[in-house]
Chain length 202, copies 2
């Protein structure tokens, strides 16, 4: 039987693999795609810096924990691009299986705590979860804006799609969402992104 | 004048560059070197998982903040390999200049908080700082042990050097240091690393 510490170290080594899961966004210097581990660090930093803009004063420890663990399931389930409608069909099932395996590597009380926090984040059932989820939308928007709309342009994404995908940010922070819509207006005005999707041809 | 939110977003975009600072350690799959942003995420996860092993019950929020920000200065100052004696000569000066520039991007109260936490971590002047610094030593040791001693072998590092470099881990957590010395004994027994440095020839 592994000791409690041995279980914890096995989990710590297993989650190292999150560093190899690539996202659609690129770094601000456009040198490469971002991976999910460094994205999670960035998100935790954003929680520290931006907490004052939450609609309700958040429990920062809970928000930080959610930011750090929210994407660990991607080790097994992979990253699903947020504008990929087909990939979203079985996303929940793939991620539940991943959560079963990964969090059960930990001692039972810790695995249960992380699993509960992850589900709270996914379901957005608390103000802390909605604020954390809002930051999770804000982070790739900021990276896209800083890279001339890199992944938006690559996939032909228009402002109306970005708004539809990200407007739940307002449930966590109205001030952050107001700021983002202003930045998106500027992105349309500068020609970075179109306002609307072009009509489908056939 | 930038607004408070604009200052915060400028900082968030600037620290994206931490993802491009490479360390000597490699990922557990040995596919590439680790960068400092994902290392910081890994460290924050270790703080969550291993807090119960601290010599004194830590203030987890403070430990998490230190884990997240402790290496931000490397954006300007670069990563100094922990067995590089020459690189250590001007490390403190380079990092102070980096802290001056980077933390001053933030609104003053936040920049001051991060700067103070970073100095507390660097100086190891509290139990929280010593626990965080101990985890910062443990993380590359675990990655090295999981990769057949990759960076130790590359640089010809012996057990006695690893012990000299990392034994301050015991100031933060005696149980973690005891566990590590056991793992290092096994690494010597298996031939992964030598016990002592070979005598210098000339």
């Amino acid at each position: 039987m592994p000791t409690r510490l041995e279980q914890q170290i096995a989990f710590i080594l297993e989650i190292d693999r999150l560093k190899t899961v690539l996202r659609q966004t690129v770094l601000t210097d456009k040198s490469r795609h971002e991976n999910t581990a460094e994205h999670s660090w960035h998100l935790a930093m954003m929680a520290l810096v931006l907490a004052e803009h939450a609609n309700e004063k958040p429990d920062l420890m809970r928000v930080l924990k959610m930011a750090l663990i929210h994407d660990i399931v991607e080790i097994d389930a992979g990253d699903t691009f947020c504008y990929d409608e087909v990939g979203y069909e079985d996303k929940a099932e793939r991620e539940q299986r991943a959560a079963d395996r990964l969090f059960s590597l930990l001692p039972e009380n810790q695995g249960k705590e992380f699993r509960t926090l992850w589900e709270e984040f996914e379901l957005g059932v608390s103000q802390d979860a909605r604020f954390a989820a809002g930051l999770d939308r804000l982070q790739p928007v900021l990276l896209n804006l800083a890279t001339d709309g890199y992944s938006w342009q690559k996939h032909g994404i228009a402002r109306e799609q970005i708004v539809a995908r990200n407007e739940l940010m307002a449930d966590g922070s109205q001030p952050l969402w107001d700021h983002v819509t202003g930045l998106l207006d500027e992105a349309v005005a500068s020609g970075m992104i179109p306002e609307k999707r072009p009509p489908a041809r056939n």
